[in-house]
């Protein structure tokens, strides 16, 4: 290796010893993430077997009803929140940069923070089961059961523990969107990106709009449980259906959020084993984007039996049928590719085929239950359990196992056994169908879901016993797979490079892999560069492309333009640190201590988390480089520091705030939802007391101050750019005072009027909007003070202004939040 290679290797070296855990590089974090998600999957699988043992025979008393409820709740929650969503993030963090010839994703520390949040939150939620205090309200946590009838700590563990993990999901979504759009190799235009990246882009955007409504719902339910704000209490004007709306606006896209990334793996595997490029690239993009959109129009089909108007049911039934179109299109593309190609047999491809077949069966029963009259019969029966497992196992688990066989050599340099693989495959395929097919029948003859046992003599005995037997065969398949994964492979030779003779860029990785990701970042002009670009591998290895060196010993990767992938920036990405671990630990403390109402501990943890994150930002972001431009190779010189819409940080802020705005819109939706369901909202009086509103004046004063604060922020940005320090500091000072004034005015209205949030759902809805806005304004104030401190410390100047530019972007959203909150509570419906 030449001197340049040595330097590059040094820059990307993985920390040794105990410092290994300070790594933030995508290959380490992605691997930990995958292993953790897989461990939670095994835990969820064991819970599934416990369920099947309990249901094997009628009138079984092996588990108490309480234990059973905890077990099935945890099975669903673990599989959805701790496996299905995290595994997609894990695999993407591991693979996406490699597929796009990037050295890393743009925010490695954010990925690491997300991983630690996931690990801490997951262990906390799972651990509750061993203390007998696990949540037992189902993975959907419907009130009033979880608000009035389960007053133990279980629902709090679910709400706070999983909200904490959702933070990690949104962090990953930000990372993956920016990664897919901005960190591609030069020349890799949008029509050339690997299909995996298209799918991940769609899914990440879906996460951004699907998770925040659930976070908003979690907030409302936790406020009801902890502080008695009656959002879901029908006696005090609340409505349990609001939770169902918020949950399923998340919950149905969620199904596609876990399905699309897995099918993305299929889209990578199929061309390799068919030895031909994917047929209908544009059609698959249609399928991914179309499914992404339509999946947001389906949520009410989980609520067909709640007594909604016929028209509403019709609209959602129709959309549920329509989504079958794009879903089907991609499957035809896969079949066409396999037909036109020369298919080579492997365990990996067998799992792909099993996945497609299983998913098609699940999809067809899905079309059945999308028809409302059928759903009325099948709702809450075992038919649904059969349906959803065909969808999820066919659409998610089998493709992920195919991906495991496909990418195992990429990660470890060793291959899994084809012989053991065949045993695994048949055990799983047979076991799965034996376990889940009979459930359709048990459901049709009337067995309800979520019951801890059933009486004999109703025809449930035999199909249940068969299901249990099948579940254990399926479990045996996983045991064989697990053995294959962990069995010592020391004597086994390393696989050859690009073992499957694939065409996509990730297979350029050396065996054993090196920490730099790729020796030099190539120019891409085809969809399958390893098949279609001559000498690509040797040219990359010889360092003939971009960034073959790390002269300054720093970690660097390229940022390119969104559509055409033209090089725009040499991005320096941060290296190992324990800050992200501590930030996650302290953030976790806030959620975990709050579960037990240990407010002081939660407050201390919150303060520590705040300080840690500030240190992280201060020392690791928007650093002023020692020179403006850098020669990245091939005669190209790129800027090191950029701000505004061409900077990855600006995109991250924009995307984060879109997610934040979605959560806020969900809260506003709740406010108007109450208006639609009440004859008169708010009523003049309730429970013998007059219903009090916040008045018109103070909320509008708050809006006015918010607008002026926002103008001052913009003025601060431009005075920084024109290097007028005095103006800059005064504008920052002014906007801070105005923002505090705006928050105070917003709180002052309800306080002087004497509003009591526990009185009625209206009072609670107003107060939660005020609370949300005040917290956001406080964050806005901290950001402004941070910018002033940055300039004072010489870490921000007229040209290096990313901090204030990003804060201004955030303030656009804050202004919208203040304006909507103020005008909604003041003017609609008008209460004085």
């Amino acid at each position: 290796m030449d001197e340049r290679g040595e330097r590059l290797l040094k820059a990307w070296e993985t920390p040794k010893g105990w410092r290994y855990w300070s790594a933030v590089n995508n290959s380490e974090v992605g691997l930990w993430y995958t292993l953790t998600a897989f461990a939670f999957f095994l835990f969820g699988g064991v819970l599934a077997l416990v369920i099947r043992i309990q249901l094997a025979v009628p009138e079984n008393d092996w588990l108490t009803p309480e234990q059973y409820n905890q077990v099935f709740t945890m099975h669903g929650s673990v599989m959805m929140f701790l496996f299905a969503v995290p595994i997609l993030e894990a695999i993407s963090i591991l693979l996406l940069p490699q597929m796009m010839g990037a050295r890393d994703l743009p925010f490695p520390r954010l990925s690491a923070y997300g991983f630690w949040c996931f690990l801490i939150g997951g262990v906390f939620v799972c651990g509750s089961l061993f203390f007998g205090v696990g949540p037992r309200g189902g993975w959907f946590m419907y009130p009033p059961m979880t608000t009035e009838y389960q007053t133990d700590v279980g629902p709090d563990i679910w709400l706070l523990g999983l909200s904490f993990i959702e933070v990690a999901s949104i962090a990953a979504a930000v990372e993956l969107i920016v990664g897919a759009l901005k960190c591609r190799p030069p020349g890799m235009r949008l029509n050339l990106i690997p299909l995996y990246a298209w799918y991940i882009l769609v899914v990440a955007v879906m996460i951004l709009f699907a998770f925040p409504p659930l976070i908003a719902g979690d907030l409302l339910m936790e406020l009801e449980r902890a502080l008695d704000w009656p959002f879901f209490d029908a006696d005090r004007g609340g409505d349990p259906l609001l939770w169902q709306h918020l949950f399923w606006i998340f919950g149905h896209p969620e199904v596609y959020i876990v399905f699309l990334p897995s099918i993305a793996l299929v889209a990578m595997i199929v061309p390799t084993f068919a030895r031909t490029p994917m047929a209908g690239y544009g059609w698959i993009v249609l399928a991914a984007v179309g499914t992404g959109f339509l999946s947001f129009g389906l949520w009410v089909h989980h609520m067909f039996t709640t007594g909604l108007p016929g028209i509403t049911i019709g609209i959602f039934s129709a959309a549920s049928e329509a989504v079958a179109i794009p879903t089907g299109v991609q499957i035809f593309c896969f079949i066409a590719t396999l037909l036109i190609g020369r298919v080579t047999k492997s365990v990996c491809l067998l799992f792909v085929l099993a996945g497609l077949a299983t998913f098609i069966i699940g999809g067809l029963t899905g079309v059945m239950v999308a028809i409302a009259p059928f759903d009325y019969q099948a709702h809450d029966t075992y038919f649904i359990v059969g349906h959803l497992h065909y969808v999820l196992v066919g659409g998610t688990i089998f493709p992920i196992i195919a991906g495991l066989y496909y990418y195992y050599p990429f990660v470890t340099g060793k291959q899994l056994s084809e012989r053991l693989g065949m045993i695994t495959f048949w055990l799983m395929l047979v076991g799965f169908n034996v376990a889940f097919f009979p459930m359709h029948l048990t459901g049709l003859i009337g067995m309800p879901r979520r019951v801890y046992t059933y009486p004999s003599g109703m025809g449930f005995e035999i199909p249940n016993l068969i299901s249990t037997a099948g579940a254990f065969v399926l479990g045996a398949g996983f045991v064989v797979l697990l053995w294959d994964l962990v069995r010592p492979k020391g004597g086994q030779p390393l696989v050859k490079r690009n073992i499957w003779n694939a065409g996509t860029l990730e297979w350029i990785a050396e065996v054993p892999d090196r920490p730099w990701g790729i020796r030099s970042i190539p120019i891409i002009s085809t969809r399958y560069p390893l098949w279609e670009q001559d000498n690509l591998m040797s040219d990359v290895d010889d360092g003939k492309f971009y960034l073959p060196d790390a002269e300054e010993g720093l970690r660097e990767t390229l940022v390119t333009s969104t559509v055409d992938a033209e090089p725009m920036q040499c991005l320096r990405v941060p290296g190992p640190t324990f800050l992200t671990f501590f930030a996650a630990l302290f953030t976790g403390g806030v959620f975990i201590f709050s579960t037990y109402h240990w407010w002081v501990a939660a407050g201390v943890s919150g303060a520590l988390s705040f300080i840690t994150i500030l240190i992280w930002l201060w020392t690791g972001t928007a650093l002023i480089p020692e020179k403006d431009n850098k020669d990245v190779g091939l005669g190209l010189s790129l800027p090191i520091y950029v701000s505004g819409p061409s900077a990855v940080g600006w995109w991250a802020m924009f995307i984060t705030m879109l997610g934040d705005m979605t959560a806020f819109v969900s809260l506003v939706f709740g406010y108007f939802f109450y208006w639609t369901v009440h004859e008169q909202f708010p009523p003049a009086e309730f429970d013998g007391r007059e219903i009090i509103g916040p008045g018109t004046a103070w909320p509008l004063v708050s809006v006015g101050l918010g607008v002026v604060a926002w103008i001052a922020v913009i003025a601060a940005r431009s005075s920084n750019r024109s290097d007028r320090s005095g103006w800059f500091y005064s504008m920052i000072g002014g906007s801070v005072l105005l923002a505090i004034g705006s928050a105070a005015a917003l709180v002052w209205g309800p306080i002087t009027a004497g509003m009591d949030p526990t009185h009625h759902a209206y009072s609670a809805a107003v107060c939660v909007l005020v609370l949300w806005t005040v917290v956001h304004l406080s964050v806005g104030v901290v950001m402004l003070v941070y910018c002033a401190a940055r300039r004072l410390a010489g870490r921000m100047d007229a040209r290096h202004d990313a901090d204030i530019v990003n804060v201004t972007l955030c303030w656009h959203f804050l202004l919208l939040t203040v304006a909507v909150t103020g005008s909604v509570i003041a003017l609609f419906p008008k209460v004085s």
């Binding site: 759009l181 235009r189 949008l190 029509n191 050339l192 490029p277 690239y281 544009g282 059609w283 993009v285 249609l286 984007v289 179309g290 959109f293 339509l294 947001f296 129009g297 108007p309 016929g310 028209i311 509403t312 019709g314 609209i315 959602f316 039934s317 129709a318 959309a319 049928e321 329509a322 179109i325 794009p326 002009s525 085809t526 969809r527 279609e532 969104t562 559509v563 055409d564 639609t676 369901v677």
Partner: protein, 134 residues
Amino acid sequence: MSKPMERHAQSEPRPMRQQLWWIALGPSIWAVHFLACYLTAAIWCEKFASAGSANSPLWWLIGVYSVIALVGLIVVSVMSFRSFRRGDPPVSYDFDDPHERTPFLGFTAYLLSLLSIVATLFTVLVFLLVRSCD
């Protein structure tokens, strides 16, 4: 008559709609129409529909939404179709040449607008078939 490949090579696709957001336009129109229909119907059924009423203002509103949405979708699909057919490439979207991106985005946008038209018609159909809030 030159061969399709040659024509494709010679053609100069118009550099229109290079933005990624163009492909999201069709589905977004569907989404807005869908949400508008759902919210209008939900509010109407909760607040204004009484037993036995013909619900006529509701049908008018939905009719107006639907005409606007369908006209919008047809415009998007025609523009996308023109964009990707420009230069008569045989299967332009499967080539890797420098001009290929516009046909690709145009083609994908075209497919998505067709899907959105179908999905929008599905929604309209509900209002034609289900005539009451019950």
